[in-house]
């Protein structure tokens, strides 16, 4: 209203709403954002380089640390890339369990997103409700592999462990619980007048522009592009299941929210089908004791909760470490849309948008 000059504000790296150590330098005109710079790298640990100095089996454990709220999908992407490089056939049971794990992971990751996103916009109860359900997923993971955050839950060629007895029943029970809880979240948010005012028309990005910016995952689908790697280039056991790919229309924060809420339901649908059709059989394919992929390169992408998580791995066929290891992290690529989305909105919308893009700084910086 009454402003005379631009104000430069440092949001982060220590700020409650930047989801980690992200630093956003905002240039403000009053409360309106004219421009913003994103400064990343505060959590850079050199994971890609680190992976080039570990042998193939050890790398699974490092991938856990990238998107640390979605470790299972990170594992999956890596092991499938190496399997592609080595042309290993993975047994059906292992593929089914992998699918269950990665969908559970999607639910956990979306719970975290929903909680923090709602919290950023001020609805703090949703945060605790979502974390309550995320806790159940973590319990399931703990029962499966003993860890609650960094699972190290997959192996090249299969899985380290079969599911514990009765675990499938618990997963099904969890799906029933979540089924009743998702409407609870929606009741608090979807029809809430304030929530809609805060998210509708905020950070609108059209489908073409979203593709041009290299966005992926729910951020892309919110703009109406029905791109889902699970559907388009099925991996694990996704080809065997029926599920819909929710897309938005307006490409604003509200549509991205709706897309993710629908993904909760689709994930439950996939998990139920996988549990029902879980085949018997071995959980490890035929892989040599010492893994040494033949010389060559492979790129393989999966649909992580945040978007297209791709691994590009080059093997020289001699050493027992990758020659080159490169990750295409969805958070990093989606984050570069932030300045485009923010421009012209208010400071309050910045936190809504950061939440809407759903970044994990561990993955952005690697």
């Amino acid at each position: 209203m009454f402003d005379t000059s631009e104000l430069v504000i440092n949001m982060g790296p220590q700020h409650p709403s930047t989801h980690g150590v992200l630093r956003v330098v905002l240039r403000l005109d009053g409360e309106r954002v004219i421009d913003c710079d994103i400064v990343i790298g505060y959590l850079h640990r050199g994971i890609e380089k680190l992976c080039e100095h570990r042998d193939w089996a050890q790398i699974v454990l490092i991938t856990d640390r990238m998107d640390y709220v979605s470790a299972a999908t990170n594992n999956l992407g890596y092991v499938e890339t190496v399997e592609k490089l080595m042309s290993v056939e993975v047994p059906a049971r292992a593929r089914y369990i992998r699918t269950i794990l990665s969908e559970l992971q999607r639910i956990a990751s979306h719970c975290l997103w929903l909680g923090t996103h709602a919290m950023d916009i001020g609805a703090m109860t949703v945060f605790l409700y979502a974390f309550r359900e995320r806790e159940l997923v973590l319990d399931l993971f703990e029962e499966y592999c003993g860890a609650r955050l960094t699972y190290n839950s997959m192996r090249i060629g299969g899985l380290p462990l079969d599911i514990p007895p009765g675990w499938d029943r618990k997963v099904r029970a969890f799906c029933d619980i979540l089924e009743s809880k998702v409407p609870e979240y929606e009741e608090l948010l979807t029809q809430n007048r304030i929530w809609r005012d805060r998210t509708r028309g905020i950070g609108v990005i059209g489908g073409e522009e979203a593709v041009a910016l290299g966005l992926s995952g729910p951020v892309l689908r919110g703009s109406g592009v029905p791109r889902d790697i699970r559907k388009d280039e099925p991996y694990a056991a996704y080809a065997d299941f029926e599920f819909d790919v929710p897309v938005g229309a307006a490409g604003d924060t509200y549509d991205r929210y709706l897309v993710r809420m629908e993904e909760f339901r689709q994930s439950m649908r996939i998990i139920r089908q996988a549990i029902d059709g879980l085949p018997e059989g071995p959980i490890m394919g035929k892989v040599p004791r010492l893994i040494k992929p033949p010389a060559g390169e492979a790129y393989h992408a999966i649909e992580s909760p945040k978007g297209e998580l791709g691994y590009f791995i080059v093997s020289d066929g001699k050493s027992n470490t990758p020659y080159r290891f490169r990750v295409r992290p969805p958070s990093f690529c989606n984050l570069q849309a932030l300045p485009r989305l923010i421009k012209g909105h208010l400071v309050s919308d910045v936190v809504a948008l950061i939440g809407s893009i759903d970044i994990v700084v561990g993955e952005v910086d690697r």
């Binding site: 409360e31 916009i121 609805a123 109860t125 805060r198």
Partner: protein, 339 residues
Amino acid sequence: MIETFVVPILKILVLLNAVLVSVTFMTLLERKIIAWVQVRLGPMRVGPHGVLQPIADAVKLLLKEDITPSRADKWVFTLAPIVSMVPALIAFAVIPFDREASFFGYRIPLYIADINVGLLYIVSITSIGIYGIILAGYASNSKFPLLAGLRASAQLVSYEIAVTMMLVSLVVNAGTLSMVGIVEAQLQQGVWYAFLQPVAFVVLFIGGLAETNRAPFDLPEAEQELTGGFHTEYSGMRFALFFLAEYANMIVVSAVATTLFLGGWLRPFPGVEALWLLDYVPGWLWFFLKTFAFIYIFMWIRATLPRYRYDQLMRLGWKVLIPLGIVNLVITATLKVLL
């Protein structure tokens, strides 16, 4: 001598202590209520069910180092929490808790003063409280508090207009500005003004949320956006003062709303003779029950609703509430003249 000096001073002391203690325990109440909404337990460690938590908090805040940023405007920095606390406390002077009560044979009115501009007094005193926030924002010499201070001043000034507008139409009904007089008028007309002036009641409630910086209008202290808003740079007891002021303001707003719209110390349906049984409940208990209900709703809303954005807040204030206030005033006045 006793009548003119001792009794008022005693009343002031008792009231001040009561307010400060209840404010302290309201922090616990809020944490508990929000915890229950969020299927948590809330504080449980200090004392049974955490009842001593406020005392532990107070001790902690008192013992903490009181930091003044080196580039801050020191005097104003110290002044700001005081300025926000004092108006919240002196506003209680005109709130009537009950007509009178007897202590040791004395019949003592349960209010400190009944001045004939009581309502205006409260409105003007609360408008002074704005300074605390603006000054804190300015004196911290930091950008987030500054933004919060600017937000706060615009927000409070504009919501004050809507609230005052509604109070005017209430006064048209009551025919007096004295707080006691307004309650008596409700007794005479046999109806709580919440039923006579529902629009004013709702707007006063919304405006009260905005003026006490409560969710969903807590923009000046929006933690997720402004990292704590105007009290970002405050620590220790000075921070606690801001906190207490917010809660004290909450009590003031609830008590004022109770007095004006829910008949103060009157029982429900004061005009219905058939409910004479309710007369056995003392008036001050009715008053506290109603005030508590208000405070509970304040906390409940905080647990449920997301936060408004700055421009939406201003739009709501200027384009909805203020026109509503004018229309309500015109209708009330017209009816008053015609009937």
